[in-house]
Symmetry: C2
Subunit: 293 residues, 2 copies
Amino acid sequence: MKTIASATGKLGTTIVIVGVGLIGGSIARAVRSRGLFERIIGVGRNPQRLQQAVEQGVIDEYACHGSEAAAQADLIVVCTPVEQIAEDVLELHACLPAGGVITDAGSTKGGICRRVRDGLETGHRFVGAHPLAGSEKSGFEYAQADLFEEAVVILTPDDSTAPFAAERVAEFWSSLGGRLVTMGAAEHDLILAMTSHLPHLVSSALAASVTERDLPLAATGFGDTTRIAAGDPRLWTSIFMENADATIHAAEEFLLRFQALLSALKDRQPERLHSLLSTGKQHRDLWQQTNTR
Amino acid sequence: MKTIASATGKLGTTIVIVGVGLIGGSIARAVRSRGLFERIIGVGRNPQRLQQAVEQGVIDEYACHGSEAAAQADLIVVCTPVEQIAEDVLELHACLPAGGVITDAGSTKGGICRRVRDGLETGHRFVGAHPLAGSEKSGFEYAQADLFEEAVVILTPDDSTAPFAAERVAEFWSSLGGRLVTMGAAEHDLILAMTSHLPHLVSSALAASVTERDLPLAATGFGDTTRIAAGDPRLWTSIFMENADATIHAAEEFLLRFQALLSALKDRQPERLHSLLSTGKQHRDLWQQTNTR
């Protein structure tokens, strides 16, 4: 029997990645290194940048209009800033061929999933996703094929999602190396406000507090604590605005803890200070034990 | 002409390290790898631990009474917790042979230098030092010979210090690979409150804010921001108590910045939020540019 060389990847022929930055570029590199799709089409607004991404082997080809590319897609991943994702999904979903599915990589989920659900019929083929992986760097130049290995990927399908789409999107993120967790979009936003958006707010305020004069006397403790403050202010403004209520709630929880430490210090109460610092250490040690990354 | 093998290290025969933990152990390893002294004596309260440090090749021998060891020392480095350093210095200074000098590695300097100055005659041989290097880990098992390479080391001699002692102590820290900065002890405490003690307070409050339920959904951003919160609560309680006023001042500066971010978010003002986040990014980027570590 004659075998025809397979013209498809493990998950299909064509993946369309909308927004080829650090996350989109890393997805492209991971897809290529794992042979998941035969063809990787990048979509964006800047043809020069997309051409560079082709030249660097990140994507195979590019399109400036997502709708043309979408019509050929087995899978679309929307990696645009969070405030733009729902609009992109609604536009591209209309162009998907039969059997095609669409996911995103946004750091917030509640608003996106609500707007998509409101804009589409039940049985739609969008599945919200948030890979807990990234960097303070921007641009596909920093893309890493192994960015999603062992990373938690949160999926937020709901009862409006076509079951086959939920399955295919789960298979996709799992094939990138992700450890899948499924939950509601609102629950996602509450938890991530605490574990991701609050740390960014704290880190930024801390970095801003240290003056230029004092920076040469800041060492690795400061460096680590403020690493994420180097993230793109535009992207983070969008994330905070999208998840404002939950982030405000998280910030108030943090303020209670910080004020408790501060008042123990003001009152010169070493035992209370020690006890509060021990709680922080216990949580951090627990995180270390449960996190392989 | 017959050459006799040198029986001394580059800086003298005997160094005495009081407190053989992460910092003391790293000094010992650096001294050995650079051939700075012929003999390394560790001093501490726990003979079992000190015997382990001998067996692991960190120190050559140990003593439980610092005064005996001090009488043989060309250089003593006091690496005990900050609240204990001044007392140790005063006791050991009395036992130093002629020409012997003494330094420390404490994270605070104001109180230590004041108590030493009050307890000794002008022309004493103590020079306060703070190497900006460390780890959230404790114990000589984590000691690294290269811990001080390119690290800033702040020295705080004053007009009560014997000039030859200031020179010899500077030569010592420089020989470990440190980049020396000299300033007053009070100025040190004001700046380090901002660049080191505040980050610890913030990191600890952040780690404490995230509940056990949410920790599995915390990624590397949380991990980096809270790394230092895993530090020893006992050591950090001492540091905060020693530098309470300056740390309280730093904490209030941080609270202003944090409240500004929070109110921009509450008022749904993306431009103001973006501007505040940009300030944090600028400071962090500047730190990255000026810091090789």
